[in-house]
Amino acid sequence: MPEIVLEMKNITKRFPLVVANDKVNFSVYKGEIHALVGENGAGKTTLMSILYGLYQADSGEILINDKKIRITNPNIAIKLKIGMVHQHFMLVPPLTVTENVILGMEPKKNNIFIDIENATKKVKEISEGIGFKIDPNAKIESISVGIQQRVEIIKVLYRGAEILVMDEPTAVLTPQEVEELFGILNSLKKQGKTIIFITHKLNEVQAISDRITVMRRGKVVGVKKTSETNKEEIASMMVGRKVIFKVKKNEHNFGKNVLKVSKLNALNNKGLPALKDISFEIKEGEILGIAGVEGNGQTELVEVITGLRKAKSGKISIYERNITNDSPREIKEEKIAHIPEDRRQRGIISQFNVSENLILGSHYDKPFNNGMSLNLNIINKHADKLIKEYDIRPSDKDNLLKSLSGGNQQKVIVARELFGNPIILIAAQPTRGLDVGSIEFVHQQIINERDKNKGVLLVSADLDEILSLSDRIAVIYEGKIAAILDPKKTNQKELGLLMTGSVQNKKTNLEEVKK
């Protein structure tokens, strides 16, 4: 029997709106990688926040090495050798790696000066101990997201952590970086550290964890050994029903070109070239997936097509109509639906209610508007209809959008954008941050549009999504299309290499594109 290092017993935490943790029992063996999975709002983060002292449980107890303890703030957690790597990094960009690591517990020389030499040495030691090299004097702002995450890990280890909690650590990483992270986690495991890994990506759970605890609606619904279960079982435990993983996609013939982009150039917010001579076209009934590491021009590409950013040169046309640099409203009127990448900032107005959000973009037009004033009667009926059709919950049209879960917010966006029979759907990171059930829903909607012979542009950082939905994949790297591929003839690894610019000159594996 393995030794239990951490045990949380009967933890209950109530918030006015919800019971976030309901008599949760959670235990972790020494030296294991334990995956804590569940949909958004299942209570994973609350449970870990209680462990880290950010919240106090209403009832229940925490035992570390069989000793009952009270963790009232993060400092106590750190003293108990619990470390947390947050989803959003807590680093100071202009400071160096070492300076960030020691922040808050700087080693002193003569009680006055910071002993930076010693600290630098220690940072080196720690990083080499878990199998990677890092420049301790590099500034955070100059290193990649993947390396920044390592700095967070070093920070936690520097504080002597034996139990590491990692909150959705792979959300920001490329496939290669994920692999490297898993390498690091394995070497930590070899050193005898215990790792709690919060995620809702089931592939990763399978790849790295020893055991899995599944939570749903504040309760633990099961604990499994990874080797004795499978993806389908875990998913159905998370959602409470069977989940279909493979999106069903019928083969069909594509029609005419719907969207044509040629030699498109545009600048990013800093005034530097973000898109360099981008050309592609989408046919009726086709999903073109854009794969790429974030920040390689995807955002700018979508913005230029939808009129939110000006093109410097090049041409965008829908069928034969030129829409380059038209206003967002004019482009919308060409029946382009847009599920924006930044849901909170762009896609919704969180202080508006559901019915107001459902008319954003068509609010000025019939039937929602008769000249000057809003036609509230029709707007409300429209809302009721879409709420029912898309199963938006809670089903009250007067709820402010900010009170809805991410999945339901996305449903509002999807419902609004697909209304009125668009001819093109542009979906940017459409399932980011959504739970399994909502992802399934969004994917189905995208496939439906394709099957209705609409053109779909799908931009996603999630390669599984790209591979399973797309009819063709364009890989974008540093503002250029690095390759256009057939999803049946490629794989995650190849995409990953193209996305990071490690392989070049591989233009296509599609026969028909060449001619």
């Binding site: 006015p16 976030a20 967002p328 508006f352 609010h363 000025y364 508007n369 809003l374």
Partner: protein, 374 residues
């Protein structure tokens, strides 16, 4: 169900924070009165019974509330578009001067033309003055707070200059004494440009009302304007766009809304509302333009909007409360033989504003904390 009740409790709490703030402010006021050495219960009794216990009291309260309704709406309207218009003062100076100029220039027009013309002039003046910061904000991102503050000073100086250009002729008494007109005010507006007092209205339906109370038709204009503002903001296309820009310019842009255009429009409408102070102070009261008539209304409008939670009906209520405090405070001052200074009212108003901000923030934090983990 239980959690649902909790939501209601909090959103209710959020709505009544101004009420809580007012109670706390009165408490603080009581302490100040005690320190002065007077009886707070007596003082408050005098204050409220005089302001609210009689027709004269009500008349005076409404008269004092009217300009604050306009300036409160000024701030509230711009705020709905995410703009902090603290240039109500300047917009009011310009708008009211425009109205006055029309009033004493087109003296041979009949009332049914001249009154609307004056009102339009008032709105136009305020709108023009507010358009400048609006355009600067929309086109080059210059912060509206800076520009509106600067425009306030320009407006104050400009109108002072204009007053001297259109100075009233000396009165008979002055002529007899051989002195020049020394008061910096303009000529009087035409009889036809004047708004009837409430006294006139009530007399026509045989209700007794003292003729010296200055409350006039302008109060009803203010109420109508508040309703119009409500209608624009929540029932029209324009209001939808303005609020969308106010809450999230990025989402508005995404929804095909022209953000710049709405910023300019919101400022223009906001400024027009400030100009409408002319209806009360010029067309209903003094019949001429003099700077002291207006000083401070623009700035007090900020407090009124804050207390009214930037909602047109809240603004009306807040303005009436300020009217009560103003008038009641003046009476208290007289009743106590000056031992309770009128400045006490300013203290009360300031404390209300502080408490609104504090209690708002506290409630917000409670809600945020509870929601964070849900």
């Amino acid at each position: 169900m239980k959690s649902n009740n909790n939501i209601n409790v909090y959103s209710f709490l959020e709505k009544i924070t101004p009420l809580i703030a007012v109670m706390f402010a009165l408490l603080v006021g009581a302490i100040v009165i005690l320190i002065i050495g007077e009886d707070p219960i007596f003082v408050y009794k005098v204050l409220f019974s005089n302001a609210l216990g009689s027709k004269v009291g009500w008349g005076n309260v409404l008269f004092r509330s009217t300009p604050l309704i306009f300036t409160g709406l000024t701030v509230a309207f711009a705020f709905r578009c995410g703009l902090f218009n603290i240039g109500g003062e300047g917009q009011m100076y310009i708008g009211t001067f425009f109205a006055t100029w029309v009033g004493f220039t087109f003296t041979n027009l009949p009332s049914f033309l001249l009154i609307p013309l004056c009102i339009i002039a008032a709105a136009t003046g305020g709108a023009l003055w507010a358009a400048v910061p609006g355009i600067l904000k929309a086109k080059s991102g210059v912060h509206e707070v800076i520009v509106t503050i600067m425009m306030n000073w320009i407006a104050a100086s400009l109108t002072f200059y204009l007053v001297l250009q259109f100075k009233a002729p000396p009165t008979e008494a002055m002529k007899a004494a051989g002195v020049k007109q020394m008061i910096p005010h303009t000529r009087e507006i035409a009889e036809a440009a004047r708004l009837p007092r409430i006294y006139h209205l009530l007399k026509s339906i045989n209700i007794d009302f003292p003729s010296y109370v200055q409350a006039n038709v302008s109060f009803f204009i203010a109420i109508a304007v508040a309703m119009l503002v409500y209608y624009i903001l929540w029932k029209t296309n324009l209001g939808y766009e303005i609020r969308a820009v106010g809450y999230s310019p990025l989402a508005a842009e995404y929804g095909g809304i022209n953000v710049s255009r709405n910023i300019v429009l919101a400022m223009v409408i906001s400024g027009a509302l400030a100009g409408l102070v002319a209806t009360n102070e010029v067309m209903g009261f003094k019949y001429r333009w003099r700077q002291e008539l207006f000083t401070g209304y623009g700035f007090n409008g900020i407090a009124v909007a804050l207390l009214g939670k930037n909602h047109p009906f809240g603004v009306v209520l807040a303005a009436i409360l300020f009217g009560v405090l103003n008038y009641g405070g003046a009476i208290v001052n007289i009743f106590t033989g000056g031992r309770i200074p009128r400045e006490l009212i300013m203290v009360l108003q300031a404390v209300i504003v502080i408490f609104v901000v504090i209690s708002d923030e506290i409630v917000k934090r409670i809600i945020r904390k509870r929601r964070k983990t849900a």
